[in-house]
């Protein structure tokens, strides 16, 4: 069995990074979280645009996402920064995250007397948390402890020929090793429902796949109206794509060929091992936030046109579909799968990805980490705010 080294957490998960996350409860205190992070580079802020002005389904979705980001195995400790009057309360978020057994502190700007006082006290709390996680050491564990998220962004005609099938070989290998793979981006599954349903491990899972993809197609039609055909009709695709099935098959190739064990909600944590589908949109940054909140310790991200984005607490490995892209954005890309077009086998490219994956799990920085491409955390929404 292949292994990697990571930080074993109190709840049984294994982190491949040992970050101290600074989580604002609401967008209004992003600036305060930024002041704290500026003074303590080991603190990792998860800036986001939400935390208030919502109720019902989106509120539940955002609480789940922020809680699960706090519980993430790559996070050793958490500082929650609140405002005071927001809907998602710092105290509640902190206690939900603390259920994972990791150290969590919180404070609120209105109670502390403003941004500067909060930043000063927050820095003290953060330094205490950093000192506590600094004592943790990596141990060797099996690949069955890994959850790997899959993403494609800025696809081209060769994404489905080189990068995605190579990642599919890696996905099949991880499932064989007893690990978990999360395939998402339901808009990229339109047209392949019958194929994915056939791979479901039970009729119940097949029904969930069908309903998720049907909803994604309806939503795409509702949102795009007369332009929906650009996404879901055959004939409007450049680069030789002749049908929606062909386009989507190229996308789902990332998931390999194993049985589908479960369908999870956006930011839900899988209870099954093996291949799992997450109900999240194709928009890269929102689906990556969902993958991270689901506990994925690493994300493989294929790209045809090039995309530098990473994620604050999760190493993201970039795989280019062509050597032309690899050469033009070399700083942002980790693996050139375009060599398949020169005759290298998918299995050989998959071996390259696996060997880099293990090095990154063990601590080597991916390009997105090296280039500090964390960006902000984009949370999925289903309704407007009030």
């Amino acid at each position: 069995m292949d292994t990697f080294t990571g930080y074993e957490r109190a709840n049984g998960s294994v982190g491949v990074r040992n970050h101290v996350a600074i989580i604002p409860t609401v967008s209004c205190v992003n600036g305060v979280a930024g002041l704290i992070a500026k003074e303590a580079p080991l603190g990792v802020p998860l800036f986001h645009g939400h935390g208030c002005g919502r109720a019902g389904r989106d509120l539940e979705l955002h609480v789940r996402t922020l809680t699960n980001l706090g519980k993430h195995p790559n996070v050793g400790a958490v500082l929650v920064v609140g405002l005071g009057c927001e809907v998602i309360k710092a105290e509640h978020l902190s206690s939900a995250i603390a259920e994972s057994g990791k150290p969590v502190e919180y404070l609120e700007v209105q109670a502390e007397g403003g941004s500067l006082k909060t930043a000063a006290k927050g820095l003290e709390l953060l330094n205490g948390l950093i000192a506590s996680v600094g004592k943790e050491k990596r141990t060797e564990v099996g690949m069955d402890r890994l959850i790997m998220g899959l993403e494609c962004g800025g696809s081209d005609a060769f994404s489905g020929v080189t990068a995605n099938p190579s990642v599919g070989v890696v996905a099949d290998w991880l499932v064989e090793e007893g690990g978990t793979v999360i395939l998402t981006e339901n808009t990229e599954m339109i047209g392949t429902s019958h194929i994915l349903e056939r791979r479901a491990c039970s009729p119940e899972v097949a029904a969930e796949i069908k309903s998720m993809i049907y909803a994604a197609e309806q939503r795409t039609r509702d949102i795009l109206g007369q332009y929906a055909s650009l996404v879901i009709a055959p004939g409007n695709m450049d680069g030789g794509m002749s049908s929606i099935q062909e386009k989507s098959l190229g996308c789902i190739a990332k998931g390999g060929s194993s049985a589908i064990k479960q369908v999870i909600d956006y930011a839900g944590v899988p209870s099954e091992k093996g291949l799992v589908l997450m109900d999240a949109p194709g928009y890269d940054t929102e689906s990556m936030a969902g993958l991270a909140a689901s506990g994925a310790q690493v994300i493989l991200f294929t790209t045809g046109q090039g995309n530098p984005i990473g994620f604050p607490i999760v190493p993201v490995i970039k795989i280019a579909s062509t050597s032309r892209l690899y050469r033009s954005m070399e700083d942002d890309i980790d693996i050139d799968a375009g060599v398949v077009l020169e005759g290298k086998s998918l299995a050989d490219v998959a071996d390259d990805i696996k060997s880099l994956l293990v090095r990154v799990l063990n601590g080597e920085h991916s390009s997105a980490e090296r280039n500090e491409q964390s960006g902000i955390t984009c949370l999925y929404v289903t309704n407007p705010s009030f």
Partner: protein, 89 residues
């Protein structure tokens, strides 16, 4: 000689062009099969590996991506002009 086309799955009856392939130029597959392109196959488009009759399933990634709208010759371009979506999917 570098391969001009890539067969993704052994069940596939089309291959992907890795370069612009002019009509008349020879295409050889790793398994030794050889045939000529009967139409221009643009970069990243598909070429038929076997003769298909109207209604036959076009297979890529080992799965159906549609069916032949007309009879398709070995070496012919397969795209929206001669491939229609499979009903009911």
């Amino acid at each position: 000689m570098e391969p001009k086309v890539l067969v993704i799955d052994e069940k596939d009856n089309v291959a992907v062009a890795l370069e612009d392939i002019p009509a008349g130029s020879e295409i050889s597959l790793p398994d030794g099969r050889r045939f000529d392109a009967v139409s221009h196959i643009p970069y990243s488009h598909k070429v038929a590996l076997v003769a298909l009759s109207a209604g036959d399933t076009v297979v890529k990634y080992g799965e159906g991506i549609g069916c032949a709208a007309d009879d398709i010759e070995v070496g012919e371009l397969v795209h929206t002009h001669n491939l229609k979506p499979t009903e009911g999917t």
